[in-house]
Symmetry: C5
Subunit: 354 residues, 5 copies
């Protein structure tokens, strides 16, 4: 699992509303796709122009404009002009270091979120910024790169008769938010598996690699929480139905996503608590091993040092030493040693070291 740390960085010293792309530049060029639908009709324009957007907006169908790639400043400027977006909104869309937030403007709501998903090839977690503009009859979504994360929603729209076809632009925005929140569940589940795996390992093998895995997972949890926790307030606002752009029927669905968000936050908190607990276990295991090592050292040393002393005494070269000439001297000494060892073993037993 790779880090999901993104550096805070902000163009400084420029006037507000200056459009500059901040973030890693992905190679792909910016593409626009438009889906235009109502209960009866469905039109898809995969490679649309800004002019197409303008014409679609005039119809009374729901229009979903999806923009992949946000580094081409002129095209984004054009889109901003077409939909009459505030320069600060355009600036935020292009700056991929945003914190998830929601801003209500007069004629539209601006939502920015972090989508996470696994790149199975690279075994990486990828974090991508998703900006959503919700107007009265249109939704514009901006993705950093063109990975088709919203494909399932597109399929649901295509199928005639679905709930999404009967509902307005606010329901489409809900569906997009729901897809982003679902993405977190997949990642959090992976974290839970990691924890379970670690729990078993940490007891049998308190090695240094496990420590570093715990540490990395902890930092990733911090990062994940940073992305998830603003969602609570954000979706909470939408769910309270304070904006006229959100219809009453959609509020129930938003309440459902809100609920999921709270569950996510609680799960992340639980993961953090468990990681802390594991670190405690790790440290205690290290201490326990130390104790065990010290016990062995002490037992061996304490048994043999007095014995060695006795051999040392009879190894001295004094001419007159009692017992040296006695044929039983050696065996008496050995006997004394056996008594000392027995006494020591008894002592360790009483101390419960053996």
């Amino acid at each position: 699992m790779t880090r999901i740390i993104k550096k805070v960085s902000l163009k400084t010293g420029l006037p507000p509303g200056s459009l500059v792309h901040i973030g890693e530049e992905t190679a792909k060029k910016t593409t626009i796709s438009i889906i235009d639908y109502n209960q009866e009709s469905f039109t898809e324009t995969p490679d649309a122009t800004v002019a197409d957007c303008r014409s679609c907006m005039k119809t009374d169908t729901v229009t979903w404009v999806n923009v992949s790639g946000i580094h081409e400043v002129p095209i984004l400027e054009e889109i901003g002009a077409a939909f009459d977006l505030h320069p600060l909104v355009m600036e935020d869309i292009m700056n991929t270091t945003q914190r998830p937030k929601m801003e209500a403007y007069e004629r539209y709501i601006y939502i920015v979120m972090k989508m996470v998903y696994e790149d199975e090839k690279a075994d990486e977690i990828i974090e991508e910024q998703i900006s959503i503009i919700l107007g009265d009859s249109y939704v514009i979504s901006f993705q950093e790169n063109g990975k088709d994360v919203f494909d399932k929603i597109r399929q649901r729209i295509k199928k005639a008769g679905g709930l999404i076809r009967k509902s307005g632009a606010d329901f489409l925005a809900y569906a997009l938010i729901d897809a982003v929140v679902d993405g977190y569940f997949n990642i959090v589940e992976r974290f839970e598996e990691m924890i379970e795996f670690l729990e078993d390992r940490i007891i049998t093998d308190p090695s240094r690699e496990n420590l570093s895995v715990i540490h990395d997972t902890k930092i990733e949890t911090i990062m994940l929480r940073k992305s998830i926790s603003p969602l609570r307030e954000m979706i909470g606002f939408l769910e309270r139905g304070e904006s006229p752009l959100i219809k009453r029927d959609t509020v129930i669905y938003l309440r459902d996503v809100y609920d999921h968000t709270i569950r996510l936050i609680e799960t992340v908190e639980t993961i953090r608590d468990m990681l802390s607990g594991m670190l405690d276990i790790y440290l205690t295991n290290v201490s326990n091993r130390m104790n065990e090592i010290m016990k062995v050292l002490t037992i061996i040393t304490t048994i043999f040092i007095p014995l060695s002393f006795i051999t040392g005494v009879y190894g001295m070269n004094f001419r007159d030493m009692p017992g040296l000439a006695n044929p039983m001297g050696f065996w008496a000494t050995i006997g004394l040693m056996v008594v000392i060892v027995m006494f020591m073993l008894l002592f360790f037993r009483r101390k419960r070291w053996m």
Copy 2:
């Protein structure tokens, strides 16, 4: 005691309101039982059909529909249709990874809780999701499997003249909530006994098994808190009497359950504090044992190393060494050793190591 961890998991990518059972599938098939009562009459239909539900609803008696087993999608769909429940509610009922919550809809309140009880055979704590729908004259309860946890309430209803027979559907819902909260008290009491048992053990025997018991209990406490703490807000809402479905007389009873919930939360907090304290004691005991081991090692080593050195000196093979030929040489050396030992013992006494 077994873990009560349940993994977060959510079907992702499906349209909202899609009915899919999430959770372990219990073998039993879905069964419906209906109890229909008012102050005068009492009817019980143990093996009812959805059609029976429909007919009961039309009477002005209180109807309690209990559904055991939530994995058979068609039956649950039928029930949802019979009582006109929102697709999202049906989806939540079938997904057993819900967080306890309460949602007020126009004509009913949807309550979801986690019931815990001990399976005495398996020495396990079992967590089961209970969903309750409270309408104006009916209550529907959904259990994961058919263990008869609500049997005592059924007995109370059977007995004519009880408070429950005189009251409406809201009082029945209260009785069910109360039964769930009572279940937590049993488990929390077991935790308290465990703590008391651990407290005695931890001081006499800081073994590794005790550490792992502390750790496991800590994680179970985290899980328990996760199930209990949302109850506060949930019952608090009901108790404030903001819903027209809750009558004024019932509010006093809900206040009582609310009170129990707060007591539960505080007790769980206390258990956590005590477990942390125990971990501190454990760690300090480990340190103290280490100190004791080191003391023994140091005393033995420090006494014998100088003595061994002296024997080493007189064990050297130099031709000319003072005292070797002296008949008292050996005894003088032994005397020197005794003096050294006495001095060392004095030193250790002054350091308070002995």
Copy 3:
């Protein structure tokens, strides 16, 4: 000092309002005493019956009914009926595991608190549940056992002309609450003395007994806080004068008790902080002692091991070894050893180990 832990325990599975005594059964039988007074008159009935209560209530004097012993269900049921108390209130009065709380009913306020006092004979802290019912012209107090904790208040009522004689039932309730809060001050003061005593001991003697005293005091602090902290909210509610049963003049006095409660909570918090600090000191002292032990071991070992090696070399039995035959060989070797010792001592000095 003894533990003040009480187990959470709740009769489960019974219908609400079932009167069952929960708690240790004290041998004494339930006794009722009535004090009836206004500015002019004073009547005391030490061994009253429930019928006496009924008759007293009808007069327009202030009536104080004190019930000692709460385990005799029939008598308590009779009292409940006489004063028309809600079954849930009666249930709570008899269950001694209540959390301090206040409940406003239509015609009375129900207050439950934990009173603590020292049993000097047994050197124990005793926790007793006090329930107070405040009506418009009467106060009923329920004690677990008959220890005369309210005797001072009784004396004050007896004396004609006191403030309490001029005031109503609400002032009497205030006086009872004040007496309970005063009880905590006595206990908290004992804790502060304990802390002061520990602080001196912990520096001179980091023994295991002190650790266990710190741990026990910490747990008792947790228990004490659990009893005290709900008082804040409870007295705060009374003090805000939201109940018509509390007169404006009494509010100033309740504000005084409220203030005392906050002071108590803050002092308990300070005690906790100081205990944590002491635990840190204890642990650091243990580490420091370890360091000192290790230093002695290392100095002794490091000095003698090279010396022993030298004696070992000259203890080998090779026929041809330089210096053995030299008459100064022995002294040269001893000289070498002295040089090594001096060098070692210098090294330890530079490392600041000596």
Copy 4:
């Protein structure tokens, strides 16, 4: 620096409003001084009587009554009567264990604060309780002992034309509060110097004395915070101008003190954080020293033990041992030892222990 701990203590069992002095009794007798001023006139009565107070009150000038010494009950009772103060206020004034607070009565505001200042002779921090009564045209201040802490304010009043002379009693009260808050800044600055001094010391010398200084400073910080933090709420209330006794012009000045209070609280928090950090550093240094000691022990032991073994082998008295008779045997053995030492040194180098 000395402890500023004061024990909680409360007369218990007395009726409310009983005047009893609680605190250390200072030898000095109670003295009253009166300053009476308006924009034009200024009168000072250094040794006034309660009768003087009564006469001053009738004039429409601002009257400042300063009472030094609060242990003479009769005089304080007289003052209480003269200004018609509530018995509970008089009780609180005489009890020096108050927590800083503010209480609004009908015709006056009662303020109690803790003033701290250094007694330079004794190198002590002294904490003294200051009570202030603010009426419509008078201020009464009560000090524990007569140290002239308000002398600078007295000087400012004496000078004609100052802001204080033009303002009312509320501005005088502000000036007194400001003086008390200023006192804290002096003490906090001393703490900051202590911290800076400790930071340098702790790295060069992790001795046990420094540990105990850290611990003591930590406890003093806890005590200081306990005195300062209630000021926030208290001054905040005054500053919001909710009392008619506070004029609009004074509110701006109170906002200034409020601001200072917040700065004080934040600084004390920072000091706490830094002390915790220092404790961590201390502990880590202790661990590091231990590691260093162990390294030396291990290196010496590990090098010499195998060498000693070899000498032991050739010290055995077997008749037939290879090499004993060989003239190069001794040198071959020495050579083997040199090889072992070199190998060991290489090993330690690779482990980065040397």
Copy 5:
């Protein structure tokens, strides 16, 4: 990186509103520069007098007065008089130990912030106090020293046609606040780099220098947070548009800065969490190294001590010892030793120490 700690210090004992400069006195004299502009015109007066200020104020253009150097009391008094500023505001402007805050007066808003920037020459972080007065058509900014931190804003004003030229004084104030907040981003980014650098180092090399870098960075983070966190409340107030001096169009821009502030606070929190995590890693690494050292010591000692004992036995000088005369005695002994070593190695392997 240098410390950014500033001591709390307050002139004490002076009447409120006394102008005294508190802070390091920078050598430069106080200079005033005026920029006067509206959509059409632009005038810059680099070395202006207070009289120039007065005349500019009368025009209906936006006037920006920038004052560099705040230690010359007479000039600042003059400016205060010219713009009719409250004495307390003037006092706060000259006291550089302010906490960031905002105060709304009747005709102007007073804002005080801490600007941070790197002095690349000295490799220092410099903290400077910026005071801003926002009136209806003027902005006055006070800097501690003359470093041209607002130069980019000056350039933007010079260019005709920019947004800033079309907007009022409130937009200019926003631009200044934005510049200050941008400054924090640069510093926080440096901290993030430091963290990344430390993370790599701490695992490969747990030296004492790294510990002290972690500690220093932690303290700097505390200081930084102290400067940043009050900005949240402050800008939040402006953004809510509660002051008539802030126009509706500017509110959107203030919301943008508010958002940046929250992002800053969260990043600083994350840095703190990561530093704590690093300290844990450091400590665990120290423990692990200790364990490793102990293992080596124990293995060596435990293997050689029994062997040395055996050599000692056969080194004794008893006349009658079995095997001494046996030609295979030596080899049998060596064989026994090999067996012991093998047994020991097996034992260590099973304990997983090797």
